[in-house]
Amino acid sequence: MSERYSALALARHALTGAPWPRAWRRADPRPHYDVVIIGGGGHGLATAYYLAKNHRVTRVAVLERAVIGSGNVGRNTTLVRSNYLLDGNTQFFEHSLRLWEGLSHELNFNVMLSQRGQVVLAHGPAQLDVLARKGNVMRLNGIDAELLDRGEVQRLLPYLDFSAHSRFPIHGGLLQRRAGTVRHDAVAWGYARAASGLGVDIVENCEVTGFLRDGDRVIGVETTRGRIGADRTAISVAGHTSQVAALAGLRVPVESHLLQAFVTEPIKPFVDHVISFGAELFYISQSDKGGLVFGGHIDGFNSYTQRGQFPKVQTVAECAVALIPSISRLRLLRHWAGIQDMTPDGSPFIGRTPLRDLFLNGGWCYQGFKATPAAGWCFAHTLAHGEEHPLIEHLSLERFLAGNGHDEYGNGLWTYRQ
Protein backbone atom coordinates (compact mmCIF):
# COMPACT_ATOMS: atom_id res chain seq x y z
CA MET A 1 0.00 0.00 0.00
CA SER A 2 2.82 2.42 0.73
CA GLU A 3 4.20 4.19 -2.30
CA ARG A 4 7.91 3.91 -2.99
CA TYR A 5 9.74 7.17 -2.34
CA SER A 6 11.95 8.29 -5.22
CA ALA A 7 12.92 11.40 -7.16
CA LEU A 8 10.40 10.36 -9.80
CA ALA A 9 7.60 10.04 -7.23
CA LEU A 10 8.55 13.42 -5.80
CA ALA A 11 8.33 15.02 -9.26
CA ARG A 12 5.02 13.31 -9.97
CA HIS A 13 3.46 14.53 -6.76
CA ALA A 14 4.86 18.03 -7.26
CA LEU A 15 3.41 18.24 -10.78
CA THR A 16 0.04 16.65 -10.12
CA GLY A 17 -0.50 17.89 -6.59
CA ALA A 18 -1.71 14.43 -5.65
CA PRO A 19 -1.62 13.87 -1.89
CA TRP A 20 0.91 11.40 -0.51
CA PRO A 21 -0.60 8.23 0.94
CA ARG A 22 -0.28 7.54 4.67
CA ALA A 23 3.17 6.24 5.47
CA TRP A 24 1.75 3.31 7.47
CA ARG A 25 -1.66 1.72 8.01
CA ARG A 26 -3.68 2.54 11.11
CA ALA A 27 -4.53 -1.00 12.13
CA ASP A 28 -7.19 -2.29 14.49
CA PRO A 29 -6.08 -5.23 16.59
CA ARG A 30 -6.97 -8.72 15.36
CA PRO A 31 -7.85 -11.46 17.88
CA HIS A 32 -4.60 -13.39 17.43
CA TYR A 33 -1.06 -12.90 16.12
CA ASP A 34 2.08 -15.00 15.79
CA VAL A 35 4.00 -12.29 17.66
CA VAL A 36 2.74 -9.35 19.70
CA ILE A 37 5.34 -6.67 20.45
CA ILE A 38 4.53 -4.32 23.33
CA GLY A 39 6.01 -0.90 22.65
CA GLY A 40 6.02 1.11 19.42
CA GLY A 41 9.38 2.76 19.89
CA GLY A 42 12.44 2.34 17.71
CA HIS A 43 13.27 -1.12 19.08
CA GLY A 44 9.72 -2.49 18.86
CA LEU A 45 9.24 -1.27 15.30
CA ALA A 46 12.68 -2.50 14.21
CA THR A 47 11.89 -5.89 15.75
CA ALA A 48 8.63 -6.08 13.81
CA TYR A 49 10.36 -5.09 10.58
CA TYR A 50 13.12 -7.71 10.88
CA LEU A 51 10.61 -10.38 11.93
CA ALA A 52 8.76 -9.77 8.67
CA LYS A 53 11.84 -9.17 6.52
CA ASN A 54 14.37 -11.70 7.80
CA HIS A 55 12.11 -14.42 9.19
CA ARG A 56 8.91 -14.04 7.12
CA VAL A 57 6.82 -13.78 10.29
CA THR A 58 4.23 -11.24 9.18
CA ARG A 59 1.31 -11.91 11.52
CA VAL A 60 2.83 -9.40 13.92
CA ALA A 61 1.31 -6.56 15.93
CA VAL A 62 3.13 -3.65 17.54
CA LEU A 63 1.04 -2.29 20.41
CA GLU A 64 1.77 1.28 21.44
CA ARG A 65 0.18 2.98 24.45
CA ALA A 66 0.35 6.46 22.88
CA VAL A 67 1.57 7.17 19.34
CA ILE A 68 4.63 5.54 17.84
CA GLY A 69 7.93 7.25 18.42
CA SER A 70 6.63 9.30 21.35
CA GLY A 71 9.09 7.84 23.85
CA ASN A 72 12.84 7.59 24.02
CA VAL A 73 13.41 7.18 20.27
CA GLY A 74 12.60 10.88 20.02
CA ARG A 75 14.31 11.97 23.24
CA ASN A 76 17.93 10.93 22.71
CA THR A 77 20.92 12.83 21.37
CA THR A 78 20.87 10.81 18.09
CA LEU A 79 24.44 9.47 18.26
CA VAL A 80 25.52 6.24 16.60
CA ARG A 81 28.95 4.63 17.04
CA SER A 82 30.61 1.28 17.62
CA ASN A 83 33.62 2.10 19.82
CA TYR A 84 33.07 -0.50 22.53
CA LEU A 85 35.75 -2.37 24.43
CA LEU A 86 34.16 -5.53 25.83
CA ASP A 87 33.86 -8.60 23.67
CA GLY A 88 30.18 -8.96 22.84
CA ASN A 89 29.53 -5.22 22.90
CA THR A 90 32.14 -4.55 20.22
CA GLN A 91 30.57 -6.95 17.73
CA PHE A 92 26.97 -6.09 18.61
CA PHE A 93 27.38 -2.35 18.17
CA GLU A 94 29.42 -2.80 14.99
CA HIS A 95 26.57 -4.90 13.58
CA SER A 96 24.28 -2.02 14.54
CA LEU A 97 26.48 0.58 12.84
CA ARG A 98 26.63 -1.51 9.67
CA LEU A 99 22.85 -1.69 9.66
CA TRP A 100 22.68 2.10 10.19
CA GLU A 101 24.94 2.52 7.16
CA GLY A 102 22.45 0.79 4.87
CA LEU A 103 19.26 1.79 6.62
CA SER A 104 17.99 4.59 4.38
CA HIS A 105 18.15 2.28 1.34
CA GLU A 106 16.85 -0.70 3.29
CA LEU A 107 13.78 1.20 4.48
CA ASN A 108 13.37 3.51 1.46
CA PHE A 109 13.21 6.30 4.04
CA ASN A 110 15.92 8.90 4.57
CA VAL A 111 17.10 8.54 8.15
CA MET A 112 19.76 11.19 7.44
CA LEU A 113 22.75 9.24 8.71
CA SER A 114 25.65 11.67 9.00
CA GLN A 115 28.97 9.90 9.54
CA ARG A 116 30.75 12.98 10.78
CA GLY A 117 33.11 11.08 13.07
CA GLN A 118 33.29 10.92 16.84
CA VAL A 119 36.30 11.93 18.93
CA VAL A 120 36.57 10.61 22.49
CA LEU A 121 39.01 12.79 24.39
CA ALA A 122 41.74 11.78 26.81
CA HIS A 123 42.96 14.25 29.40
CA GLY A 124 46.08 12.40 30.51
CA PRO A 125 48.49 9.64 29.41
CA ALA A 126 46.71 6.90 31.37
CA GLN A 127 43.39 7.77 29.77
CA LEU A 128 45.00 7.77 26.33
CA ASP A 129 46.40 4.29 27.07
CA VAL A 130 42.86 3.10 27.77
CA LEU A 131 41.67 4.61 24.50
CA ALA A 132 44.61 2.98 22.66
CA ARG A 133 43.55 -0.37 24.04
CA LYS A 134 39.96 0.23 23.00
CA GLY A 135 41.11 1.32 19.53
CA ASN A 136 43.19 -1.86 19.18
CA VAL A 137 40.20 -3.98 20.17
CA MET A 138 38.11 -2.21 17.57
CA ARG A 139 40.72 -2.63 14.81
CA LEU A 140 41.14 -6.33 15.63
CA ASN A 141 37.39 -6.58 15.03
CA GLY A 142 37.68 -4.80 11.68
CA ILE A 143 36.26 -1.50 13.00
CA ASP A 144 37.87 1.82 12.10
CA ALA A 145 39.68 3.62 14.92
CA GLU A 146 42.45 6.21 14.90
CA LEU A 147 44.46 7.31 17.92
CA LEU A 148 45.14 11.05 17.90
CA ASP A 149 47.79 12.96 19.83
CA ARG A 150 47.15 16.46 21.18
CA GLY A 151 48.31 18.16 17.99
CA GLU A 152 46.08 16.01 15.81
CA VAL A 153 43.07 16.72 18.02
CA GLN A 154 43.89 20.43 17.86
CA ARG A 155 44.05 20.38 14.04
CA LEU A 156 40.70 18.57 13.89
CA LEU A 157 38.91 20.47 16.68
CA PRO A 158 40.73 23.81 17.08
CA TYR A 159 37.89 25.38 19.07
CA LEU A 160 38.38 23.12 22.12
CA ASP A 161 40.16 24.60 25.12
CA PHE A 162 43.87 24.16 24.34
CA SER A 163 44.90 27.16 26.46
CA ALA A 164 47.46 26.99 29.24
CA HIS A 165 44.65 27.55 31.76
CA SER A 166 42.40 24.74 30.58
CA ARG A 167 40.83 22.90 33.50
CA PHE A 168 41.19 19.53 31.78
CA PRO A 169 44.14 19.70 29.34
CA ILE A 170 43.58 17.63 26.22
CA HIS A 171 46.16 14.90 25.81
CA GLY A 172 44.78 13.09 22.78
CA GLY A 173 41.76 11.21 21.59
CA LEU A 174 40.29 8.26 19.75
CA LEU A 175 38.54 8.97 16.46
CA GLN A 176 35.96 6.74 14.84
CA ARG A 177 35.22 8.30 11.46
CA ARG A 178 32.18 6.10 10.76
CA ALA A 179 30.39 7.27 13.92
CA GLY A 180 27.91 10.09 13.68
CA THR A 181 24.28 11.05 14.05
CA VAL A 182 20.91 9.94 12.68
CA ARG A 183 17.62 11.79 12.51
CA HIS A 184 15.87 9.91 15.29
CA ASP A 185 12.20 10.50 14.42
CA ALA A 186 12.85 9.20 10.91
CA VAL A 187 14.01 5.92 12.42
CA ALA A 188 10.63 5.33 14.06
CA TRP A 189 8.72 6.45 10.97
CA GLY A 190 10.95 4.54 8.55
CA TYR A 191 10.70 1.25 10.43
CA ALA A 192 6.94 1.75 10.94
CA ARG A 193 6.35 2.37 7.25
CA ALA A 194 8.53 -0.52 6.12
CA ALA A 195 7.05 -2.93 8.66
CA SER A 196 3.51 -1.90 7.79
CA GLY A 197 4.34 -2.43 4.12
CA LEU A 198 5.29 -6.02 4.94
CA GLY A 199 1.96 -6.63 6.68
CA VAL A 200 2.72 -5.77 10.31
CA ASP A 201 -0.18 -4.20 12.25
CA ILE A 202 0.82 -1.04 14.10
CA VAL A 203 -1.83 -0.41 16.76
CA GLU A 204 -1.59 2.93 18.50
CA ASN A 205 -3.45 4.12 21.61
CA CYS A 206 -3.52 0.55 22.83
CA GLU A 207 -2.15 0.08 26.34
CA VAL A 208 -1.33 -3.36 27.65
CA THR A 209 -3.01 -3.88 31.03
CA GLY A 210 -2.19 -7.52 31.68
CA PHE A 211 -0.93 -10.80 30.29
CA LEU A 212 -2.99 -13.85 29.38
CA ARG A 213 -1.50 -16.93 31.00
CA ASP A 214 -1.79 -20.66 30.60
CA GLY A 215 0.25 -21.97 33.52
CA ASP A 216 3.82 -20.71 33.07
CA ARG A 217 3.13 -19.83 29.44
CA VAL A 218 2.11 -16.37 28.19
CA ILE A 219 -0.55 -16.67 25.49
CA GLY A 220 -1.35 -13.04 24.80
CA VAL A 221 -2.16 -9.70 26.33
CA GLU A 222 -5.10 -7.85 27.85
CA THR A 223 -5.28 -4.32 26.44
CA THR A 224 -7.43 -1.22 26.53
CA ARG A 225 -8.65 -2.36 23.10
CA GLY A 226 -9.50 -5.90 24.14
CA ARG A 227 -7.79 -9.28 24.41
CA ILE A 228 -5.14 -10.16 21.86
CA GLY A 229 -3.80 -13.68 21.66
CA ALA A 230 -0.20 -14.36 20.66
CA ASP A 231 2.04 -17.37 20.14
CA ARG A 232 4.91 -15.23 21.40
CA THR A 233 4.85 -11.94 23.27
CA ALA A 234 7.68 -9.42 23.41
CA ILE A 235 8.23 -6.57 25.86
CA SER A 236 10.10 -3.64 24.32
CA VAL A 237 9.17 -0.66 26.47
CA ALA A 238 12.39 0.99 27.62
CA GLY A 239 11.77 3.25 30.59
CA HIS A 240 8.77 1.27 31.79
CA THR A 241 10.24 -2.24 31.63
CA SER A 242 9.59 -2.80 35.34
CA GLN A 243 5.91 -1.83 35.06
CA VAL A 244 5.13 -4.08 32.10
CA ALA A 245 7.20 -6.96 33.48
CA ALA A 246 5.33 -6.60 36.78
CA LEU A 247 2.05 -7.23 34.93
CA ALA A 248 3.47 -10.68 34.22
CA GLY A 249 4.60 -11.07 37.83
CA LEU A 250 8.29 -10.57 36.95
CA ARG A 251 10.76 -8.40 38.80
CA VAL A 252 13.80 -7.34 36.80
CA PRO A 253 17.20 -5.80 37.60
CA VAL A 254 16.15 -2.37 36.34
CA GLU A 255 15.69 1.00 37.99
CA SER A 256 14.18 3.91 36.01
CA HIS A 257 16.22 7.10 35.98
CA LEU A 258 16.05 10.41 34.16
CA LEU A 259 18.55 11.39 31.49
CA GLN A 260 18.42 14.95 30.25
CA ALA A 261 19.37 16.33 26.86
CA PHE A 262 19.86 19.94 25.83
CA VAL A 263 19.70 22.08 22.69
CA THR A 264 21.10 25.58 22.34
CA GLU A 265 19.87 28.32 20.04
CA PRO A 266 20.98 27.65 16.44
CA ILE A 267 24.34 28.96 15.25
CA LYS A 268 26.27 28.61 11.99
CA PRO A 269 28.08 25.30 11.36
CA PHE A 270 30.71 25.04 14.07
CA VAL A 271 30.93 21.64 15.77
CA ASP A 272 31.22 19.32 12.78
CA HIS A 273 32.02 16.13 14.71
CA VAL A 274 30.59 14.33 17.70
CA ILE A 275 32.83 15.04 20.68
CA SER A 276 32.90 13.11 23.96
CA PHE A 277 34.55 14.79 26.92
CA GLY A 278 36.94 12.56 28.85
CA ALA A 279 36.78 14.25 32.25
CA GLU A 280 33.05 13.73 32.78
CA LEU A 281 30.27 12.01 30.91
CA PHE A 282 29.44 14.69 28.35
CA TYR A 283 28.86 14.50 24.58
CA ILE A 284 28.09 17.20 22.06
CA SER A 285 27.21 17.52 18.39
CA GLN A 286 25.50 20.09 16.19
CA SER A 287 22.17 19.48 14.54
CA ASP A 288 21.45 20.32 10.90
CA LYS A 289 19.32 23.20 12.18
CA GLY A 290 22.37 24.60 13.95
CA GLY A 291 21.59 23.93 17.60
CA LEU A 292 24.27 22.33 19.73
CA VAL A 293 22.85 19.10 21.11
CA PHE A 294 24.42 17.72 24.26
CA GLY A 295 23.87 15.59 27.31
CA GLY A 296 25.53 14.19 30.41
CA HIS A 297 24.87 11.79 33.25
CA ILE A 298 21.54 10.64 34.66
CA ASP A 299 20.02 12.88 37.35
CA GLY A 300 21.06 10.47 40.09
CA PHE A 301 17.85 9.08 41.58
CA ASN A 302 14.97 7.05 40.16
CA SER A 303 12.00 8.93 38.74
CA TYR A 304 9.29 8.68 36.10
CA THR A 305 8.53 12.39 35.93
CA GLN A 306 10.22 13.09 32.56
CA ARG A 307 11.23 16.40 34.12
CA GLY A 308 14.92 16.88 34.79
CA GLN A 309 16.38 18.53 37.87
CA PHE A 310 18.03 21.93 37.47
CA PRO A 311 21.40 21.16 39.14
CA LYS A 312 22.13 18.80 36.23
CA VAL A 313 21.62 21.69 33.80
CA GLN A 314 24.43 23.47 35.60
CA THR A 315 26.89 20.55 35.66
CA VAL A 316 26.28 19.79 31.99
CA ALA A 317 26.71 23.46 31.07
CA GLU A 318 29.96 23.50 33.07
CA CYS A 319 31.21 20.54 31.04
CA ALA A 320 30.25 22.30 27.80
CA VAL A 321 32.13 25.45 28.70
CA ALA A 322 35.15 23.60 30.10
CA LEU A 323 35.42 21.84 26.74
CA ILE A 324 34.44 24.69 24.38
CA PRO A 325 34.80 28.06 26.17
CA SER A 326 33.52 30.01 23.16
CA ILE A 327 29.95 28.72 23.60
CA SER A 328 29.56 30.17 27.10
CA ARG A 329 27.15 32.87 25.91
CA LEU A 330 24.87 30.59 23.93
CA ARG A 331 21.40 30.31 25.36
CA LEU A 332 19.76 26.97 25.96
CA LEU A 333 16.69 26.69 23.80
CA ARG A 334 15.22 23.71 25.58
CA HIS A 335 16.03 20.68 27.65
CA TRP A 336 14.07 17.58 28.36
CA ALA A 337 14.35 14.26 30.15
CA GLY A 338 13.74 10.70 29.07
CA ILE A 339 13.00 7.80 31.39
CA GLN A 340 15.88 5.41 31.10
CA ASP A 341 16.16 1.80 32.26
CA MET A 342 19.32 1.57 34.35
CA THR A 343 20.80 -1.88 35.02
CA PRO A 344 23.48 -3.04 37.47
CA ASP A 345 26.20 -3.35 34.81
CA GLY A 346 25.07 -0.71 32.32
CA SER A 347 24.23 -3.39 29.74
CA PRO A 348 20.77 -4.36 28.50
CA PHE A 349 18.72 -7.54 28.60
CA ILE A 350 17.51 -9.20 25.41
CA GLY A 351 16.10 -12.67 25.30
CA ARG A 352 13.94 -15.15 27.09
CA THR A 353 12.27 -14.60 30.46
CA PRO A 354 11.37 -17.17 33.13
CA LEU A 355 7.90 -17.36 31.51
CA ARG A 356 7.50 -19.43 28.37
CA ASP A 357 6.82 -17.47 25.17
CA LEU A 358 7.44 -14.14 26.90
CA PHE A 359 10.55 -12.30 25.72
CA LEU A 360 12.18 -9.12 26.97
CA ASN A 361 14.20 -6.35 25.37
CA GLY A 362 15.05 -3.60 27.85
CA GLY A 363 17.53 -2.11 30.27
CA TRP A 364 19.40 -0.13 27.62
CA CYS A 365 20.86 2.54 29.89
CA TYR A 366 22.59 5.12 27.67
CA GLN A 367 22.80 2.90 24.60
CA GLY A 368 19.27 2.34 23.37
CA PHE A 369 19.18 4.55 20.32
CA LYS A 370 22.45 3.52 18.69
CA ALA A 371 21.49 -0.12 19.26
CA THR A 372 18.10 0.17 17.55
CA PRO A 373 18.77 -1.74 14.29
CA ALA A 374 20.87 -4.51 15.86
CA ALA A 375 18.55 -4.87 18.84
CA GLY A 376 15.61 -5.25 16.46
CA TRP A 377 17.61 -7.66 14.29
CA CYS A 378 18.68 -9.88 17.19
CA PHE A 379 15.37 -9.69 19.07
CA ALA A 380 13.50 -10.68 15.90
CA HIS A 381 15.80 -13.69 15.55
CA THR A 382 15.17 -14.58 19.20
CA LEU A 383 11.40 -14.34 18.73
CA ALA A 384 11.42 -16.33 15.50
CA HIS A 385 13.64 -19.14 16.78
CA GLY A 386 12.80 -19.14 20.47
CA GLU A 387 16.46 -18.81 21.43
CA GLU A 388 18.95 -15.98 21.60
CA HIS A 389 20.86 -14.67 18.59
CA PRO A 390 24.63 -15.29 19.09
CA LEU A 391 25.31 -11.53 19.25
CA ILE A 392 23.17 -11.14 22.39
CA GLU A 393 23.97 -14.33 24.28
CA HIS A 394 25.88 -12.30 26.89
CA LEU A 395 22.81 -10.14 27.65
CA SER A 396 20.66 -12.67 29.50
CA LEU A 397 18.35 -11.65 32.31
CA GLU A 398 20.02 -14.22 34.58
CA ARG A 399 23.62 -13.15 34.03
CA PHE A 400 24.21 -11.70 37.50
CA LEU A 401 23.22 -15.00 39.07
CA ALA A 402 26.18 -16.58 37.30
CA GLY A 403 28.49 -13.64 38.07
CA ASN A 404 28.58 -12.59 34.41
CA GLY A 405 27.92 -8.88 34.67
CA HIS A 406 28.91 -7.09 31.48
CA ASP A 407 30.36 -3.84 32.78
CA GLU A 408 31.68 -1.83 29.81
CA TYR A 409 32.73 1.17 31.89
CA GLY A 410 34.41 -0.69 34.74
CA ASN A 411 32.20 0.95 37.35
CA GLY A 412 31.28 -2.24 39.17
CA LEU A 413 27.77 -3.61 39.40
CA TRP A 414 26.12 -0.53 40.84
CA THR A 415 22.89 0.43 39.13
CA TYR A 416 22.64 4.16 39.71
CA ARG A 417 26.39 4.74 39.28
CA GLN A 418 26.51 3.37 35.76
Binding site: S242, V252, E255, G300, F301, Y304, T305
Partner: protein, 89 residues
Protein backbone atom coordinates in the same frame (compact mmCIF):
# COMPACT_ATOMS: atom_id res chain seq x y z
CA UNK B 1 14.57 21.13 42.75
CA UNK B 2 13.97 18.09 44.90
CA UNK B 3 14.17 19.12 48.57
CA UNK B 4 14.71 16.56 51.30
CA UNK B 5 13.66 17.16 54.93
CA UNK B 6 16.67 15.98 56.92
CA UNK B 7 15.65 15.24 60.53
CA UNK B 8 18.88 16.89 61.76
CA UNK B 9 19.49 19.71 59.30
CA UNK B 10 16.06 20.68 58.02
CA UNK B 11 14.93 20.84 54.41
CA UNK B 12 17.87 20.92 51.97
CA UNK B 13 18.48 20.62 48.22
CA UNK B 14 18.90 17.04 47.06
CA UNK B 15 22.37 17.91 45.74
CA UNK B 16 23.61 17.75 49.34
CA UNK B 17 22.58 14.10 49.47
CA UNK B 18 23.58 10.89 47.77
CA UNK B 19 20.86 8.53 46.62
CA UNK B 20 21.26 5.06 48.11
CA UNK B 21 18.60 2.97 46.43
CA UNK B 22 15.48 1.06 47.43
CA UNK B 23 15.08 0.81 51.22
CA UNK B 24 12.05 -1.47 51.19
CA UNK B 25 13.94 -4.71 50.51
CA UNK B 26 14.71 -6.66 53.68
CA UNK B 27 18.29 -7.91 53.76
CA UNK B 28 18.51 -11.71 53.72
CA UNK B 29 19.61 -13.39 56.94
CA UNK B 30 23.38 -13.33 57.35
CA UNK B 31 23.62 -17.10 57.01
CA UNK B 32 21.37 -17.24 53.94
CA UNK B 33 22.99 -19.68 51.50
CA UNK B 34 20.60 -19.33 48.56
CA UNK B 35 22.40 -17.34 45.84
CA UNK B 36 19.11 -16.23 44.32
CA UNK B 37 18.03 -14.57 47.58
CA UNK B 38 21.21 -12.46 47.56
CA UNK B 39 20.93 -11.84 43.81
CA UNK B 40 17.40 -10.53 44.24
CA UNK B 41 18.38 -8.40 47.22
CA UNK B 42 21.33 -6.78 45.46
CA UNK B 43 20.23 -6.56 41.84
CA UNK B 44 16.43 -6.75 41.52
CA UNK B 45 14.23 -3.73 42.10
CA UNK B 46 10.47 -3.32 42.38
CA UNK B 47 11.08 0.06 40.69
CA UNK B 48 7.51 1.30 41.27
CA UNK B 49 5.91 4.23 39.50
CA UNK B 50 4.44 5.73 42.64
CA UNK B 51 5.31 5.60 46.35
CA UNK B 52 8.92 4.56 46.95
CA UNK B 53 10.91 4.16 50.15
CA UNK B 54 14.58 4.89 49.58
CA UNK B 55 17.93 5.56 51.23
CA UNK B 56 19.72 8.89 50.99
CA UNK B 57 22.90 9.92 52.76
CA UNK B 58 23.30 13.56 53.75
CA UNK B 59 26.93 13.64 52.59
CA UNK B 60 27.27 17.43 52.73
CA UNK B 61 25.41 17.78 56.02
CA UNK B 62 25.13 15.55 59.04
CA UNK B 63 26.35 12.51 57.00
CA UNK B 64 23.50 10.42 58.37
CA UNK B 65 21.69 7.85 56.27
CA UNK B 66 18.01 8.65 55.90
CA UNK B 67 14.96 6.75 54.75
CA UNK B 68 12.79 8.96 52.58
CA UNK B 69 9.26 8.41 51.28
CA UNK B 70 8.95 9.81 47.74
CA UNK B 71 6.52 9.38 44.86
CA UNK B 72 8.53 8.50 41.75
CA UNK B 73 5.68 9.55 39.43
CA UNK B 74 5.65 13.13 40.72
CA UNK B 75 8.79 13.51 42.90
CA UNK B 76 6.52 14.55 45.77
CA UNK B 77 8.54 14.13 48.94
CA UNK B 78 7.07 12.72 52.15
CA UNK B 79 8.61 12.05 55.52
CA UNK B 80 12.29 11.33 56.14
CA UNK B 81 13.65 9.51 59.17
CA UNK B 82 17.02 8.23 60.28
CA UNK B 83 17.90 4.85 58.81
CA UNK B 84 19.58 3.73 62.04
CA UNK B 85 16.23 3.94 63.81
CA UNK B 86 15.23 0.86 61.86
CA UNK B 87 15.30 0.02 58.19
CA UNK B 88 12.58 -0.83 55.74
CA UNK B 89 10.03 -3.56 55.52
Amino acid sequence: MLRIPCPHCGERDYTEFRYGGDASKPRPAHDERDVRAWHDHVFVFANPRGPHREYWQHVQGCRQWLILERDTATNTVGAARLARDGAGA
